[in-house]
Each structure stands twice: as structure tokens, then as C-alpha cells.
Symmetry: C2
Subunit: 258 residues, 2 copies
């Protein structure tokens, strides 16, 4: 199907998915570029549509076949209509429109809570790391950067499609998780923590919390913590980047269990 | 001293430090914002000048005293002259002009080589992590993003001022390091590496190489490697972010030695 005008109602809906409001009212998000579109199509997610810039129509024969096989609608857009949906400076001419999963949280034994992480690059990197270290579910608090924004989806390198991501109150998620895993640890990372991250016993269920870049974990979450963990480092250094600190704790938990 | 015009020759020189060409011809770089300016002033680096937006002149009395005590010139710039030097969207109205260190490389027992890391955020994050994990010297290859660009300096969170950073050919740096540490390991990280990073013996001297995000380490550097290391992760995941992977190896080396 070919769409010429950027005023077309479908095009306007897709362009709206660049905003948080558009994503939450429509329940889907954009995965731009050949690699992300392919990963979305190969994942278990529902891909509603694949949008191709008509100027690049000959580049994506195999991706289009994949889309058709998965039941996604393929649209060819005029360059200006495509541009209105694209979020990148130099576009590859292909975007997948992916349905947000509507599964309920499963509260698995190893899980990650992002408690106010602000930077989309950090959120995406933490989703990518979670995927690498076998964490299957991530709770993103309302104060955390939207995990379905184009920048987060790009930085997650496809992690978004493979993880079960839930946008909900962090303290509520933690309370329900604790009921499911009464022997589990709620782990927060702090410069003056009481135990080094490599001394934590990760054979027990663990919920790892990453707080905001500037202020750390929220007061409500801090009262729920059972272990305040530090990452050993030199005294002179300020701190680690939030995505790096979280990734090191996730690495430790994975290393110990494998 | 007050400068009104953005055509003033000093202002034009400072504005030129936003470009790689300007930084290499003048040998200094910009550290923007109150926190970075303060860290530069408290470091062992020479701070040539401190630039204050005249509209924010009352906000920085203590930083100005610090600058004067360190022998830096303090300039008040008109808002438009300041804006022409600033690299941020919402400026705090203060910038330190920092002299690049002219020390020669020291080739210490634990060192980091960035071999073509492209993303300024990743380079800055790796400098920040090096600082946290007691790596004092970093070699940035010519293909690596400029470690003195405003974006890298910001992401390093002051690491730039505390590390000895050398922009030079990675293979040359590695060869000289090996002469100084004939029993040391040249460590590269690869998905199909031969040994897990936590199984490496970091009591020996170690030079850790981080390659480019897309292509990994260069062919010239790969032939010099003595250990090809992998980070244990699930088979389904693509890979880790370059800054995260490098940070995990740096963490392992620090953890084992402390």
C-alpha cells in the first residue's frame, strides 16, 4: 500500500508514536532501521506494520517477506511522509511499528527495577545488559525515561523486543515480588553500601534496583531494600555512570549463577 | 576583565575549542558547567581561563576565588559572547579552559587502550570508569572519538582531569608497553574469546583494549593480543554496549587486585 501525504491519518498516528502520549494512547512504538526492524520481526512481539521509504523500496525485499509472513502490513511511504515518522538524522528508510506486550508482570526470581533512571541512553543500555545477563523482566517506574521511546529502543539493541517490560510504580512491583520470593534480596547500590557486590550471595532470588543518575534510589524504595551494596572503587573517584554500575551488578549476579 | 563582542579574538579562539582542529592547534579544551569547572580547578591540570556569563556573575564567587588562587584568568563575557563558546543547550554560565597535559606516556602496569571507540558518550564513560578503577593512563587511538571534545569531557565527569590521556597510535603504545612489561597481558574482549574475564589472572600487569562499537579491535592490535577474553552472557543476546563491556573488564581487574 502506498501513502503519499504526511497528512494521511495513519502517517499522523505513526508520527505520534515519537511522543510518550502517542505511545501510551496507541499501545505501540517505533523500531527504526534495518537491524531493529529485523529483530522486531524475529521476536515474539506483534509487529503491526512495516513502513518503507519508497526511495528505498528495493533494499528490503527479504525484510518485507518476513513482515508478510508474520502478518504485518507493509506500507510504502513517500520520502516526505516517511521523514515525518522517522526519528533519526540519516534514516535507513525502514521502520517497524511494534505492539507493546500486554502480559502481566511475572515477578521472576531475578529481576530489575529502574527507579527514576532519567537518561534514555542509560535506560536502553540497561535493557541491553539485562537481555545479555538473562534477566527476563524489567520494571520501569513512572519517573524512569519511557522504555519505548525511539532513543531507548535504539540503545537497547533489540533488548526491548526480548524483555518483558512493565511501566508501574516501583514500590508496588517490589512489594508483590517480595510476596513471591520471601527469601529474596532487594538490592540497591550505594557508594557507602554495607557489602561489596561480589560478596552478595546471588544463589538466592534477587531484585536489583537502579536509581536515578543524580539522586539514587527513591526514599520509598530505599525503605524496602534488604541489601545496600557497593561496587569497590578508588576513594578519589566520584562514582560510576548509572548504566555501568547497574551492568556490573547484573554481571556479578549472572557470573555467580553460571 | 569584561568582553562584549563575540568577534573578540579571545572569544573566537575559545569558540574554536569546540572543534577538534581548534583543540589540537591550541592544546587546550573546554570544561563547561559549575561542577566540571570546579573539578578542573581542584585537579592538577593547568586552567588557563575561567569564563563567566556576566548574567551569572553573582553565582560563582567561590569558584572565581579558586580560579584566582590557581592563577587562572577570569573573564566576564556578554551573554551572546558566552553563548558562542558554550556547547550546551541550557548553560550554567561558567566554562573553564583547561590546558592539555604535555606529559609523556608512563606505560603503567594497568592501562587502557581505546582502539577506535566511536561514540563520545562511550569514550567519556570509559574515562570515568578508568578513574573509578584506578587506571591512571589511557591511550586513545587516532580513530577514537577525541577525548577532549565537550561531550566526552562531560561524560567523563571529571575523569579527563585526573587521568593521563595520550592520543597516539594504539599498536605503537602497546609495543612500548610490552617492552616495559614483558610478563604482562594484552587483553582484548571478543564474543568468542578463549577465557572468561573473571578467570584472567589480573595480578600480572594488564593492558586492556576496547575496540570500536561496530568492528571490535583493529587487525593491527589483534595480532598483538595475548589473551582473547569473553564476558559470560546468554547465547541469545547480541552483545554488550562497548562502554559496559570495557567497564566490566576494568571492574574485574580492580576487584581481583583489591
Amino acid at each position: 500500500m502506498y501513502i503519499e501525504s504526511q497528512k494521511n491519518s495513519k502517517v499522523q498516528l505513526w508520527a505520534g508514536l515519537k511522543t510518550k502520549k502517542g505511545r501510551s494512547s496507541h499501545g505501540s512504538y517505533l523500531a527504526e532501521g534495518a537491524r531493529l526492524a529485523e529483530e522486531a520481526l524475529q521476536s515474539s512481539r506483534v509487529v503491526e506494520s512495516v513502513l518503507v521509504d519508497v526511495a528505498a523500496r528495493d533494499d528490503y525485499q527479504s525484510l518485507r517477506s518476513l513482515a508478510v509472513a508474520k502478518g504485518a502490513e507493509v506500507y510504502e511511504l513517500s520520502p516526505q511522509a516517511f521523514l515525518s515518522v522517522s526519528d533519526t538524522v540519516t534514516s535507513q528508510g525502514i521502520i517497524a511499528v511494534v505492539r507493546q506486550s500486554d502480559l502481566s508482570p511475572a515477578f521472576p526470581a531475578y529481576t530489575l527495577v529502574l527507579d527514576g533512571v532519567q537518561d534514555p541512553g542509560n535506560v536502553g543500555t540497561l535493557l541491553r545488559t539485562s537481555d545479555a545477563f538473562a534477566v527476563s523482566e524489567v520494571c520501569c517506574s513512572e519517573e524512569t525515561a519511557d522504555p519505548f521511546s525511539p532513543k531507548v529502543v535504539r540503545a537497547s539493541m533489540g533488548g526491548t523486543f526480548r524483555l518483558s517490560i512493565h511501566r508501574m510504580n516501583a514500590a508496588s512491583y517490589i512489594r508483590t515480588w517480595t510476596e513471591a520470593h520471601p527469601d529474596g534480596d532487594i538490592i540497591i547500590t550505594e557508594a557507602d553500601g554495607e557489602i561489596a557486590c561480589h560478596e552478595v550471595d546471588f544463589s538466592k532470588p534477587a531484585l536489583i534496583v537502579i536509581g536515578s543518575e543524580a539522586a539514587g534510589v527513591s526514599a520509598a524504595v530505599r525503605t524496602l531494600a534488604s541489601k545496600r551494596v557497593f561496587i569497590p572503587m578508588t576513594a578519589s573517584a566520584e562514582s560510576l555512570n548509572a548504566a555501568v554500575a547497574g551492568s556490573i551488578v547484573l554481571y556479578e549476579s549472572y557470573r555467580q549463577r553460571h
